[in-house]
Symmetry: C2
């Protein structure tokens, strides 16, 4: 019965679900970054034609879902279950985008780890025999995140060197029980880790210990090491957090050979784009996955990838009440071929 469970917290899929389609939709700044050519749609005024930033974020998710379905050559109605979530209070970006489609909807909340969480659950639903086509979608928008978590843009608040820039973008993946790949082979569900960081302008440091926990668990549960993968990528730790997790893993003897990166470092040019410690947000790892990574898995440039998206599970209220920032990291392993 439990052959699909390996180690303490990892699911190994017996019939790894296949990516059927994927799409990334981004704003202007992301479209000026190093991954520009990997995105399906770049909106150049970042409003996406809507009157409020929240509606813009909703629009991005609708566009990502629509494009991913088109690329999979499937009608949206073929999606049997969709997993979605975002950073905005009560996840309204997801609820209002999915409202349009009439699909069975499962709302999730994993902060910036949402893409990995949704992808893992969507894969479980297929491998468990409950569905043949599922989807995972998420988004973030710089302007909705700033006014909710920090200060309204109009204040022009100064950013600290450790601060990250919330990616304006949405990513969507469609999975199926058969298909051309890449395939989702493993899902490691993270534990909440909180090392007492209280600086809400240093999310990388707050989330790094959870990435350490989940990647350690993943390598142990699967009995593999970094050398077995072409790329291991964290979600949005940025420069500060990625240095911390690299150091924490090195102390355990887990050494990388140029194959460890972070979506927050990949999505922007940190020098030229004035984003301080790098990109962040649910959209950060989602658009890097649904742009560069899945494209390169499909084309065979990459063969095996560990996608470990990270999230900070705090809120402005918890910070005001003196709480530290709990982190979580969920990891999904993708392979271009079935073994």
């Amino acid at each position: 019965m439990l052959s699909k469970r390996v180690g303490n917290s990892t699911v190994a899929f017996l019939n790894p679900p296949s990516v059927l389609g994927f799409a990334s939709v981004v704003g202007k700044k992301e479209g000026e970054g190093p991954l520009a050519e990997t995105f399906d749609y770049i909106n150049n005024d970042t409003t996406f034609g809507e009157k409020t930033w929240e509606k813009s974020e909703t629009r991005m998710q609708k566009d990502a879902l629509t494009i991913a379905s088109n690329k999979a050559n499937l009608p949206i109605s073929a999606i049997q279950y969709v997993f979605a979530g975002d950073l905005i209070n009560q996840c309204i970006s997801s609820s209002f985008s999915l409202r349009e489609f009439g699909l069975p909807f499962i709302g999730i909340y994993g902060a910036c780890s949402t893409m990995a969480e949704g992808l893992g659950l969507a894969a479980m639903m297929i491998d468990g025999g409950f569905a043949s086509v599922t989807s995972a979608v998420t988004s973030s928008h710089f302007c909705t995140a700033e006014r909710q978590y920090r200060t309204p843009l109009e204040y022009g608040a100064q950013r600290t060197p450790t601060a990250q820039w919330t990616v304006t973008g949405s990513g969507c993946v469609l999975l199926g029980d058969t298909g051309p790949g890449p395939y989702v082979t493993h899902f490691t569900v993270g534990k909440i880790v909180d090392q007492g960081i209280k600086d809400t302008n240093n999310m990388g440091a707050a989330m790094a210990p959870s990435a350490h926990s989940t990647l350690s668990a993943f390598f142990q549960d699967t009995n593999t090491s970094p050398a077995d993968y072409d790329l291991i990528v964290t979600g949005d730790l940025g420069k500060v957090g990625h240095e911390i997790v690299t150091d924490l893993l090195r102390r355990d003897g887990i050494i990388f050979n140029g194959n460890f990166n972070d979506c927050g470092l990949m999505v922007f040019d940190l020098e030229k784009q004035d984003v301080h410690a790098g990109g962040s947000g649910c959209g950060c790892s989602a658009v890097v996955l649904c742009g560069k990574i899945l494209n390169e898995l499909r084309s065979g440039i990459l063969n095996k990838v560990v996608f470990a998206a990270t999230g900070a599970l705090h809120s402005p209220v918890s910070a005001q009440q003196g709480e530290s920032i709990p982190g979580i990291c969920h990891a999904v392993c993708l392979s271009s071929k079935l073994n």
Copy 2:
């Protein structure tokens, strides 16, 4: 491969997971209501010994999880995956309670439908062969919900007749691959339904169409009718919403015979407790399930129950931007015996 999928949106478990333990924790007002004797713990000052309402809500979840594990005669560490979510921005009640336990954690957001969503996913994880013990937990607190969604309590704002009273309570269920029952036999994932209701003091009306959609789908997918169940219970539609969904189903020819109720009508005495249209909140359906319903399924008073928790997927921001209130309803079918 898809024998576990029936109809359009229902999962039928091949090896229905068993409830191993369950617990309900409530505040003072709930402890003065008609279900008082079904709760495991009643806190008489509603602070649960904490300094902020948010920390009180976090404490309730910890207590519910601890009591449910004790009742299941299992250490908390035996739980392989836990699903949790709540109403508070960024679901901090769940993140901060689960932070203590070091369990693989999957955050969900379904507003007041969370208990059914978590229970259904926790059951899928077992029936899919990914785990042998999982858990679902949720909560709401009158004081955290009022200040976040409406006005601070100190304002003494007047309540409209259609308003509902957020239940202060937390419910937790532990599921296992074998056990004494009751068993989770089906899970119908809801679609988002929005009929244009904009009155945030009339959640029952906003959510009723989603309950209509999901219950219709459940009866159709399972090829059953209300007469096949001892109890069909909606989450927290209250007086207004429950009348609406009863009427909508009757128009489709789905007639109940005294076996249709609503957790929001059961948890309080509407006449004596001044709660206007009834109870609401994630905790409402959770404590009725983890109190009266599961107790009566265990003792054989009830044999087959459809638990259809409802949620309103709006936020204060979406309401301020003129949006209507999308509703969702997830249904879980429970049976005291395996067929």
